[in-house]
Symmetry: C2
Subunit: 255 residues, 2 copies
């Protein structure tokens, strides 16, 4: 490993940056891998060579190779599966939180294969933080549903849903591996008329990182939604943890 930085720059001079040839090697490496993705040499969900192989191939160390891979992960071009390897991210799912279209419909229409898994569905008592958000009385009953959702076999989102039992009595008897909104509409004639959506980018930590099978610190998007009916009655609080590379939010506002 006596190769100098200068030689490396020279070696990749063809596809170099416009000015300032003093680009760090890990960014050069990032660009080379990115090019392979862009040209389709590496297609969605295909696996990259191992970190050890890459670092040997590009004459560098694993640490530096991981830096480059980490960049591409941050850009949403690669993802990793715990101790299995690095993979090419598929296209982001375009998602409009203002519409009442189900996850399943979104994904299917955009060419993906969706799957939903119910991790928990229990009845519990309203904790303080939820009482504050919902207006329900602390200690009263609430339904809690925890789900995990997949696209093309990759877990990309986990959510906690808290439903007011007053508007959906006996809800827990149903199967939640489908659209909850459709269920609520058809079985309970519930219509959401007032939705407050809040979201921000952050890292996924435990327990969500574990649920999605990613390392803690993986970039994510936190989304929550408080829904009420036209009389202002609290219906549900939904809290979603997305992998950051999985979605693209698109909102059309007329007015």
């Amino acid at each position: 490993m006596s190769t100098s930085q200068g030689q490396r720059d020279a070696a990749s001079a063809s596809a170099d940056d416009t000015e300032n040839s003093r680009t760090p090697f890990y960014l050069q490496l990032r660009d080379r891998i990115a090019a392979q993705i862009a040209t389709g040499q590496l297609s969605a969900h295909s696996r990259l060579p191992s970190e050890r192989t890459l670092s040997e191939q590009y004459q560098t160390t694993r640490v530096t190779a991981r830096l480059a891979l980490g960049q591409l992960e941050a850009e949403g071009k690669l993802y990793r599966s715990n101790r299995r390897g690095w993979f090419v991210s598929p296209e982001r799912i375009i998602y409009d939180p203002s519409l009442d279209v189900s996850f399943t419909d979104y994904v299917t229409k955009q060419g993906g294969v969706p799957r939903t898994e119910t991790l928990q569905s229990t009845s519990l008592t309203v904790p303080a933080w939820l009482a504050q958000k919902s207006g329900l009385e602390e200690g009263s009953e609430i339904y809690h549903i925890q789900r995990r959702r997949y696209i093309d076999g990759r877990a990309i989102l986990t959510e906690n849903i808290y439903v007011n039992p007053a508007v959906c009595p006996g809800l827990l008897r149903f199967d939640f591996n489908q659209s909850l909104w459709k269920l609520m509409r058809h079985e309970y004639s519930v219509s959401l008329s007032d939705k407050h959506v809040t979201m921000y980018p952050t890292a996924l930590t435990e327990p969500q990182a574990g649920i999605l099978g990613v390392t803690p610190g993986t970039a994510g998007l936190y989304v929550n939604r408080i829904s009420r009916n036209s009389e202002g009655v609290f219906i549900e609080f939904d809290e979603e943890f997305w992998l950051h590379d999985a979605l693209c939010i698109s909102v059309h506002a007329k007015g």
Copy 2:
């Protein structure tokens, strides 16, 4: 550096995780620093000890210390300023893209000090990608404004704005270090009635990373907005690159 992993776990046993005491040290370190932020020992915009100091203080190496700092950065709790150090992130600015409230008003109302800097304001010809998005003819004239915006002296966003000169002739004569919407409303009586907002989390790369003075790969949020008037005439295309820890999007949808 002969301290074993086990001793470290023991040392931090008081504030340890509930089960599974085999928490990696960089996560333990993350939690200790996070605790100092939560308790207010470290307040917004205050600087942390240097990486070398931290690694010595916690008996570890710079690499591991940087891992912990990187986690907190990903969570939006810390930010760094190029070669100056690590700082505590302030509260996120709550931002509703569906409202016509100016950046300045948002920030001020939430207790921050906003500042806007115009980097460029030129007239150029419509490139192909913009022609497609806007419906304007490729090669026709378009105004381009590039700005950088600060909160409390920290650059947190850079944007490219492309304005249709047909609806705002002579726009470039104005000062853009203020609200562009107010300008358009007051000087040109332009009203935006149709906005299409798209956003997704991604890493900031060059040139945006350079403009904001962060290292490439820093987590960001990409937002763009296409605005038209009530007749469907293209008014502006706005493209924003935010630091990911700077904002929290909040949308209220009634209907």
